[in-house]
Amino acid sequence: MLASPLMSASPRSALPAEGGRPHLVYLAIGFPPAAKSCAYRMRETANQFVEAGWDVTVVTIARESWERDSGVDPTLLEQVDPRIEVVELPLAREDLETDIRRYDEARALNPNGWVAALRRRQTKPFPEPNFGEWRGDLEQAVLGVHRQRPVDLLLASCVPYVNLAAAWKLWEEERVPYAVDFRDGWSIDVIEGIEAFGRASEEGRWEQRVLERALALWVVNDPIAEHYRTRYPDIADRVHVVRNGYDSESTPDRVRTADPGSGLVFGYLGTVNFPAQHLEAVLNAWKAAREREPLLANARFEVRGHIGSGADRGTNRHAEILRQAEADGVRFGGPAAKAEVATVYAGWDALVLILIGGRYVTSGKVYEYMATGLPIVSAHAVDHDASNVLRGHPLWTGPVGIDEDALTGSFVKAAHMAVETVAGTHAEAMAHADQFTREALMTVAVRSLVERFEADRETGADLETGEAPGPEPGEAAAPAPGAADPKPRAEKSTVAGGSAP
């Protein structure tokens, strides 16, 4: 695998697409070594394309840029197929800059106001705060890759949604077909379960235009797929549910024997991206459960994962709440490298599944949690897609919402499960997850996409059916310079394991 900026990418043999190994350009901002939850899905996707006989060029951003975000995990690279070429663009999120010497005086005087203005400005080239201004670089990047070695298929993984502009550009100029992996979806706010923007908005026009010609649209669960099938009936048959799944190397081979004498250990592993009140409710319930249940009197609760970004990285309100809960046996251990995930799980007796959102959020960690065979305490909305996945799991305490009293009961129940469960039940619990290995899920998804691609190529279909329903996104119907600014949108929330595995 090569990691290089676009302009210095190593020269490749300009094999024609026909006859040689087909060439995929994969827009995957968050690809390893980014310590993002989406990295696992991206890694597996790229690997599966290589397995399917494709050459893969991943386009992402420079690894240093992730230092501002959720950091870098070099161990994620270990499982990346070395045949994959990676193009790293010198792009970084400007809002997360922490070097004050790079600030102009206006930013130094009012950091938050400056970032708010920046986000408005960034939506002008493409309607997405934080990322919109990357449009030109991404477009040039995919065109550059195509010039060096013709591209047969583009797969855009979102977020960021500005990837759609690059996919569209390559289609528009070179007629390279593309598919979209939305993971969570753009026009649905998966956290609140409502439409995120209207069809007439600039985002709406972009989404519609790009999806109309997409070879396939992948999303992570059925409710999101249903949203897209309803919104765009014409592409309903191209919408596929590609669940996140789990990596088998991330789960322990066997469940450790719980030892209440030395203290049960509960654990949470994942990005700490839920509201502070949510975390407080869980910790209050934990404290109450320790007071109520003798099995938990000396129990510990370990939290591992990323907290905050930019200037707040590792030091935000959540970090303080966790620090204050140390007297209750709570410990924040920081992020866990992918390579140590199985070891981390192996040291725990039960898991706490803290998730935001509801029926449109599944998360990736639910699959991994299931595969550990450990008891699972659910700390999320009752009507949550993770509940659907967990239904039937023998060591699940059940969905009780984010009610402190009910969660207290769940902790007590899980403590008993951890101590009283026999090996056979743990095995049964692990088996519940068998169907969700990431490799199995992604093999099917990639095969299906490749078949669709090949079928279309054989028939000469290019999906150019029907007249365009409106102006090009960002062009005629977009606000003219000087007209009212496009409506600023708050940054779309991402869900650890939901927007990404």
Binding site: R101, N110, E192, G198, A490
Partner: protein, 725 residues
């Protein structure tokens, strides 16, 4: 040794900071913390940090020049922190010697930015994690020995340039300093300067603003407003005129006083709005109209005072508003394309109950209809969703939409977010006729019946004037006098498209209040709820003092949270006077403050007489609950409504209501003269309350409105509703 200087404008997360300091130290760094926040208030936690040194930076600009303080008042937090800290020798010295300068919060960023100009080799970072990485980096490559050097010439040159650029402002602030503006001669001189003929508009405006600022600093708030009004009168630009008058009025309102030139400010804003509207600029027209409405219905005028222009002449007050073309456009009912449909007979009524955060009066309603076999209930708190919250109070966007004939993107957003709920519901019951009411009526409700409840507070806000009542089917009031007031204020409620109106009492389960009272309760006068100026507890104190002249066993028991002095200056001033008045009474035990409680029935068990001392109420829930508990009600004839066709005298039995503190004292003394008389009066009050206001009675009114009322609606054939998510 790496030298780290942390700078904080706000109290940092001390637990996280402690961990970070340990990590800095483990990398061989020496960590110093300088803060403009109050270090002493967290001294124990801060002492536990393993810091090399701690330094309190100036927490304010007290003792600095007034020109500087005035500049700080109009500056960003970052600039204020820098102005406080920049002369501090400790800071300057340690900043020059630091290897890593760290801002712990946004307010400290500018100070670090400025300090980094003087220490070009130091890292300047925002946040602890980047700072830790820098220390690791420096530790790995080793820190070069540093010796103090003079600041770079470039930094000094930039400082000089800043000083020169700021000179006109500094000069004007010095020339309009407090001593000058406090003197009548100085103030008059400056007013004259602002109105001097021949001044270019820009100069006049800038000068007027500095003079107004100086006057405000000198305590001449109304003088400040007059200067701005003078400048406004000399400009022909309608936008600037409106802006200056608005600024003057806002200065007075923020000082808790009714603006002297409110009429002129409103006229200028409305005229500007009308001009922009006529010119086809709905955005600026909406902005001006919004300001006019905000000023006209500011809480200082109507809520934080013991009276309001609406109490004196409601129709007269709103007449100029509704005379504006933009307001006429706003008041033009858009109507609904189809009448509301009846719920299909084969399934329960789909009822959506909604509000924005305040569900105080919905608990019984939700419980009742949640268990009703003929109702499928959903509850929507608009404040619980970030998307809905963003539109629920978006008054200006709503105005722009109306003035642009529904062509703004706002309508699309409301449509997208609210339509799924309208598609599902047969009937929407919106509690509180505030922001969400105009927003909901921005779109056609389709076949859904819209019911809105207006309590009392809303009458004194701008929201009913912005609501399109032609899209509301039923408007529910909690009392006739509120209906009278609102109808007199809002032209749409008097026209052909007005909704049906109803009077429904608040939902209260009064049976829980019937508890035995001890004999000593006879001498305890109770006041439930004292958190607003309108409750006027000073009136109750007056009554107390009068009855204590006859018998010093009488006490005043106040239940509920105190007024929040931060609400407004007017509230702060009322509270200050009130506190002064009850200081001695509290000390002697004649006034007892029980504070907030979740258990009002228990508190009322010890109260013998329940007072309503308010200047206005919709229906006084605390009073009704007190009556239900068997306390003897004594109700002030609420001055806002006294003498009008409806008010306290028509809402309550005549003998409960008194016209003055004297009459109140007389009624207290009379009804509590003997234990027997007191218990008998209390029993009659409880019987009345339970027979009229208890939920067992009122729930039938709600059933009639929401279930039978549905059958009364125009006979539109029902169609199948869509399912909302």
């Amino acid at each position: 040794m790496t030298e780290v200087l942390l700078i904080a404008a706000a109290k940092p997360q001390l637990g996280v900071l402690a961990d970070s300091v340990r990590r800095f130290n483990s990398h061989g760094a020496r960590v110093r913390l300088a803060g403009t926040f109050h270090l002493e208030s967290s001294s124990e936690e801060i002492a536990a940090l393993d810091l090399t040194e701690l330094h309190q930076l100036p927490r304010s600009l007290t003792h600095r020049s007034q020109a500087l303080r005035r500049k700080a008042r109009t500056s960003t937090v970052g600039m204020r922190v820098w102005l406080q800290a920049r002369r501090n020798p400790w800071l300057r010295s340690h900043a020059r010697g630091a290897d890593v300068l760290v801002a712990l919060d946004p307010g400290a960023v500018y100070t670090v930015w400025r300090l980094s100009q003087y220490n070009r080799s130091a890292e300047a970072l925002f946040g602890l994690t980047p700072a830790l990485k820098a220390v690791e980096r420096l530790g790995a490559r080793g820190v070069a020995a540093r010796r103090p050097v003079l600041p770079p010439l470039g930094a000094l040159a930039r400082d000089v340039r800043r000083s020169v650029d700021g000179l006109p402002a500094a000069l004007l602030r010095t020339a309009t300093a407090r001593p000058v503006m406090r003197s009548t001669v100085g103030a008059r001189l400056w007013r004259g300067a602002v109105t001097a003929p021949g001044l270019p508009t820009r100069v006049r405006t800038v000068t007027a603003r500095y003079v107004a600022e100086g006057m405000q600093w000198a305590g001449r708030t109304s003088g400040a407003a007059m200067v701005l009004a003078d400048a406004a009168s000399r400009t022909r630009d309608p936008a600037l005129r409106a802006q200056l008058l608005d600024e003057g009025a806002t200065k007075e309102l923020s000082n808790g006083v009714a603006p002297r030139h409110l009429d002129r400010a409103l006229a200028a804003l409305l005229s500007h709005a009308d001009g922009e509207f006529a010119a086809g600029r709905p955005g600026t027209a909406a902005a001006a109209l919004d300001r006019a409405l905000v000023l006209a219905f500011h809480r200082v005028l109507h809520i934080d005072q013991l009276s309001s222009p609406l109490a004196v002449d409601a129709e007269g007050f709103v007449a100029p508003l509704h005379g504006a073309e933009t307001m006429r456009e706003l008041s033009r009912g858009q109507g609904r394309r189809t009448p509301p449909e009846r719920a299909p007979g084969h399934r329960p009524l789909r009822l959506l109950v909604t509000t924005s955060a305040n569900d105080n009066f919905l608990h019984h309603v939700l419980e009742h209809f949640g268990n009703h076999p003929d109702v499928e209930l959903r509850y929507l708190d608009l404040a619980a969703s970030k998307h809905l919250k963003r539109i629920a109070w978006a008054g200006r966007r709503m105005l722009e939409d109306r003035l642009s004939g529904g062509t703004s993107d706002f309508q699309e957003e409301v449509e997208r977010l609210m339509r799924p709920y309208l598609d599902w519901a047969d009937t929407v019951f919106l509690d509180w006729s505030v922001g969400p009411a105009p927003i909901l009526t921005t779109i056609d409700p389709g076949t859904t019946r819209i019911v809105v409840r207006l309590h009392s507070y809303e009458a004194f806000t701008r929201w009913p004037h912005m609501t399109d009542f032609s899209r509301v089917d039923d408007l529910v009031f909690v009392a006739p006098h509120v209906r009278d007031l609102v109808t007199s204020l809002v032209p749409q409620l008097r026209g052909g498209q007005a909704p049906r109106t109803h009077i429904l009492d608040n939902a209260m389960d009064l049976t829980a209040f019937a508890r035995p009272k001890p004999a000593e309760a006879r001498f305890d006068l109770g006041l439930i709820g004292v958190g607003q100026v309108a409750k006027d507890p000073r009136w109750a104190v007056d009554v107390l003092e009068r009855v204590r002249r006859h018998d010093d066993r009488y006490r005043l028991v106040m239940v509920g949270g105190d007024m929040d002095a931060k609400t407004s200056r007017a509230t702060r001033e009322y509270r200050r006077a009130f506190e002064k008045e009850i200081a001695a009474l509290s000390e002697s035990g004649a006034v007892v403050r029980r504070g907030p409680t979740d258990d009002v029935p228990s508190e009322l068990a010890g109260i013998g007489t329940i007072l309503s001392s308010s200047v206005r109420e919709g229906c006084h829930v605390g009073l009704m609950e007190g009556a239900a508990s068997g306390a003897v009600p004594v109700v002030r004839d609420w001055p806002f409504y006294a003498g009008k066709p409806n008010g306290a005298r028509t809402l309550y039995p005549e003998d409960w209501v008194v016209g003055s503190p004297e009459e109140a004292a007389e009624r207290v003394l009379q009804t509590t003269a003997t234990e027997e008389a007191w218990r008998e009066a209390g029993k009659l009050a409880a019987e009345h309350a339970l027979s009229v206001w208890d939920w067992s009675v009122v729930s039938r009114q709600f059933d009639k409105l929401l279930l039978e009322g549905d059958r009364d609606a125009p006979a539109q054939a029902p169609t199948e509703k869509k399912s909302a998510r």
